[in-house]
Symmetry: C2
Subunit: 306 residues, 2 copies
Amino acid sequence: MSRLARVVALSGGVGGAKLVDGLAAVLPPEALTVIVNTGDDFVHWGLRICPDLDTVMYTLAGLAHPVQGWGLAGETFAGFGMVERLGGPAWFRLGDRDLGTHLVRTERLAAGQSLTEVTAGLCRSLGVGPRVLPMCDTPRPTLIDTVDGTLDFQDWLVRRRGAPVVTAVRSTGPSAPSPAVLAAIAAADVVVIGPSNPYVSIDPILALDGVRAALARRPVIAVSPIVGGRAVKGPLAAMIGQLAGCAPSPEAIAAHYADLLHGLVIERGDPVPDGVPVLAEATVMTTPDDRARLARAVLAFAERFA
Amino acid sequence: MSRLARVVALSGGVGGAKLVDGLAAVLPPEALTVIVNTGDDFVHWGLRICPDLDTVMYTLAGLAHPVQGWGLAGETFAGFGMVERLGGPAWFRLGDRDLGTHLVRTERLAAGQSLTEVTAGLCRSLGVGPRVLPMCDTPRPTLIDTVDGTLDFQDWLVRRRGAPVVTAVRSTGPSAPSPAVLAAIAAADVVVIGPSNPYVSIDPILALDGVRAALARRPVIAVSPIVGGRAVKGPLAAMIGQLAGCAPSPEAIAAHYADLLHGLVIERGDPVPDGVPVLAEATVMTTPDDRARLARAVLAFAERFA
């Protein structure tokens, strides 16, 4: 058991959620708070959809699809089939149970609950122990500037399959984090940045008012999402080339987070960047054991800085 | 084939939809227009739900549940299960495919389409031939005054199972029918009032501005929803006692529609009311053949008045 009593994890979707799941397996629930990117959130079929929050929540509830990394295990798509048949927008697949989540969230938001409150209620119903915090309570959509023009995030990632070359990633809307986010960071013994996409999953959190300043006062370590020169999942490897003009490597991740980092966890055998303490570990999480093992190693590494 | 070129049917949900299905089986699609009660419509889980419109649409599309009379055949309830698990409102069951319909409708209404336009689009996608018209384009909710106070229609029917004794049925909201409704009635060779509940399914249509006046200029026949002193389905028999102070009978139906009626179709062997031409037929529709046979008899009877 770690001696860290207050761990904060910053997370996007799949990779971050797996590490969070490992942390939840080795920490008591009250010791873990997850701050989740909401820049991917969008309204589809009139429903407020929070892909990263749901991936974290479903993963912690043990409901996530074990292989594809998003969505629910055993999900069905009967409602989607009807929407498609009726000529509704069908470029983003929503499963039947997932729809239940979006319906409840959308209704509670409309009734005046904050996204933080709604998320807490959903997590409670699903038996999720750690605290899951959306990074902010107001919509803060990520826009992707590409050589084909500016696209909404899901439009770029899902509809256009991440193909248009990215020239910049921007957050829009009010830049205030939720009060709970700043309080959690201020109280953290250590902050762990998960192996998520720095540009579209972590930067939106870092760009909120006061978050960088709060993190600068805490020990921060990151787990590299780059393994063997590739992203474990998603469009990150190409984005590093397009946005940082270098090859995807732990060095690129270290350079991206720069002064914020006290330590970086990288894949064993990957090139070690200069200027930051490094832990080399097996970082690809295929099984639940992988997640817990990596979490234990990350926490032991973090204790050096706490 | 009937010589009636323009038949208008007024319909609520189950019973009316079955007769409409029979009419659709024996008339060319362009000869049939169905005007459907929207007084039961409500917003649930943030979605606009139109129970009678959907029952008519699903029935005409061949998708309706063959026994229960509402909802879709082979429907699943995975989304509902999730809503229930998350502590969402679970007193009204919505199936997965049915949810797809409500999502598409709600989004199109939000985008500015009228309910008439949305319904036409949905029917087109489902291959429904006859024209299906909501009675009006603005919400016109039916309220049920009961000895326990005033209740929303679905609250009374579904949540309270129709138990509270009814003292009055009222429509609220703007009273304008859609222009298409008045035009369809004005052009009708005959208007058939389906075997629906007069108080909660047909009166809301009749109470719209100009509908009674338009019907007064057309031949109108009704099919009695009372068979052997009982309602084929639903709370009608008790309502007749509570609202009209008499026993449920074809006589009560004839008295309710009064001057509007040119003829009434009743169940064989039921007591024949005075003062209106009557056709005695087998009116309970168990099979598709029953629907078509009754529709043929209704149209032959209607031709006498057209």
